[in-house]
């Protein structure tokens, strides 16, 4: 120990002028780089947060206030009239979105988990090829499946229904959820399944009692991913739903793009906030699992 510290002191004596100048210089270098990091982070925060701030401020202003003041000014009078009007306009569609999103997220996650379980633990002849083909689903653009999907929905009698939209979202999301779960399960030792089989557990018991309880991080990833995708979806909503079954994204678009009457920016902003709040909430509540689960899946894949 002593000899090491002596050696360190000697080497620093060689490199730096005598006295405490070296230490001070190092301190200054550290704080400068700290400052640079913090400045960058603050700037990045501002870039992302200022639009949100503008939306929030605008949504609480009166239309007159919006026309007279600048974007970042505090409202003269705080009013929730914009929010009330917005809810009147898109509230019904908000519940449509809930009715579409929640079943679609749950079903696609559950099926993805089952698929992943089979592909990782019960390999069959050609299962690798099957998985490879399934991955194509992750790269399919939305637009490509519009026509076949609408044809299929028509044949099934599900055109313009909430159920139809749920079906489309489930099918489209399966490629992603299967990928998540399969990659998570291949990192789990197969011996676990073998031990359970010897213990007398069957296919679904092993899945439900042993693997699912271990899968919380990847379930979170799948839930957040699917929720964001489906809640924010516009294209499927506008194509496969009409009138009363439309999701909130379509309703928001209709509201903002109405050409009649004066532009009510406060209502637009409030409606946009309403449309965006659920995803925000999901990220805040489950975000830490999202990061953890993403890396868990990424380690082995």
């Amino acid at each position: 120990m002593t000899s090491v510290s002596v050696a360190q002191r000697r080497s620093s004596d060689v490199l730096l002028p005598p006295g405490e100048g070296g230490a001070k210089r190092r301190m200054r270098a550290v704080s400068l780089s700290r400052l640079a990091i913090h400045a960058t982070l603050i700037l990045a925060c501002a870039v992302y947060l200022v639009p949100l701030l503008v939306m929030l401020l605008t949504s609480f202003k009166t239309p007159d206030d919006i026309r007279s003041g600048n974007l970042l000014s505090i409202p003269d009078v705080f009013t929730v009239i914009g929010w009330v009007k917005a809810w009147d306009g898109v509230g019904g569609y908000f519940w449509n979105s809930v009715k579409i999103t929640i079943p679609a997220v749950l079903i696609s996650t559950l099926l993805g988990a089952l698929n992943g379980y089979v592909l990782a633990m019960w390999r069959f002849r050609g299962s690798q090829l099957f998985f490879g083909l399934l991955l194509f689903g992750c790269f399919l653009p939305f637009q490509v499946i519009l026509l076949p999907a609408s044809f299929t929905l028509g044949q099934l009698g599900l055109a313009n229904t909430t159920e139809g939209l749920v079906l489309v979202h489930v099918v489209y999301g399966l490629a992603f959820t299967t990928l998540f779960f399969r990659n998570f399960y291949v990192s789990i030792p197969e011996a676990l399944v073998r031990a359970a089989r010897l213990d007398g557990a069957g296919f679904f018991t092993i899945f439900g009692r042993i693997l699912l309880p271990m899968s919380v991080p990847i379930i979170m990833v799948s839930l957040i991913w699917q929720f964001t995708q489906i809640w924010n979806d516009f294209l499927f909503g506008v194509v496969f739903a009409s009138g009363d079954t439309q999701p909130i994204t379509v309703a928001l678009n209709n509201l903002v793009n109405t050409s009649t009457g004066a532009k009510e920016y406060n209502v637009d902003m409030a409606a946009a906030m309403i449309a965006g709040l659920p995803t925000l909430l999901v990220y805040i509540l489950a975000g830490k699992y999202f990061l953890r689960g993403l890396t868990a899946g990424a380690v082995k894949g």
Partner: protein, 386 residues
Amino acid sequence: MATLELRNVNKSYGSGLADTLKNIELAIDAGEFLILVGPSGCGKSTLMNCIAGLESISGGAILIDGADISGMSPKDRDIAMVFQSYALYPTMTVKDNIAFGLKMRKLPPAEIEAEVARVAKLLQIEHLLGRKPGQLSGGQQQRVAMGRALARRPKIYLFDEPLSNLDAKLRVEMRTEIKLMHQRLKTTTVYVTHDQIEAMTLGDKVAVMKDGIIQQFGTPQEIYNDPANQFVASFIGSPPMNFIPLRVQVRDGQCFGRLDSAAGAPGQACCELPLGAAAELEGRELILGVRPEQIQLAAAAAALPSLRAEVEVVEPTGPDTLVFVSLNQTKVCCRLAPDATPQVGSSLDLQFDPARVLLFDASSGERLRPGKRQATDNKVAQFKLG
């Protein structure tokens, strides 16, 4: 208590590939401890998985208590297995891990409770029952894994390299415990390992495997003293058996092998080893197998003649001192008493009993048992200095 019999078991993955298991024939009595030992890739784990039913066999039959179980699913075979990675269910407590198999078999809760308590007491893990596997040390996890197997009182236990993830000290402890457990419970056990010491110490019967073929099946003593071929001889025993190449010479109708250490005076540096009068050996290249402990310092009183060799390396291990010399340009290990501390570069007079050495064919590695070899006493008399 159950007998286990494997009849002509074959296993192959796909038609184009070499067989993983070839004509496996084994039978052990109720309560016996069978060791499957061999280098990695020899098929021993595959064979165990076949017995467990986790993999299907391509041919032959597996019989427990005389009944063919080869078509049954794992859960119906009444077999419990301890895995190398322990395979404890990470989200369950130790108690639930042990109880899982019992719950799956729909035992009444009171019975499960009693069984878990019995097993926990047996393995001294009562204080761990409320914990999750992640909170346990390697040795504790090992105990829980054994507990899970013990709980169901199956007909047969399978152990798949259960000690290989433990550190050296714990491994020796657990080895003794497994042996103790088996002595108490007397349940038929199949134990896979690549560790020849575990094979020797634990097994009632040992099957040495290589390339999917059982090279030899017998008691540990048989395998050690009477190996069927050079592979078995080299695999069992630590430090391993010495293999010294020899060319057979004939004089007066008797075969001899010449050993040469190329050290010391010509009269002392080589000796001729009598191989009997077997005419079939004439002119052949042989491998002479000598266990390190069979080579001793020459004692003046002993009737065995000696050979002088130069010490190249000395490895004191505590209970023994390993000395390496060269015979016929091959490094030979001699296991000497710990008080023998020869200097490197010095010469030693060594001797071994020619009656106890083994002969192998140089190309095939098969054991040679020349028919006309004579009794030990005569051999010693024939042993001549070269």
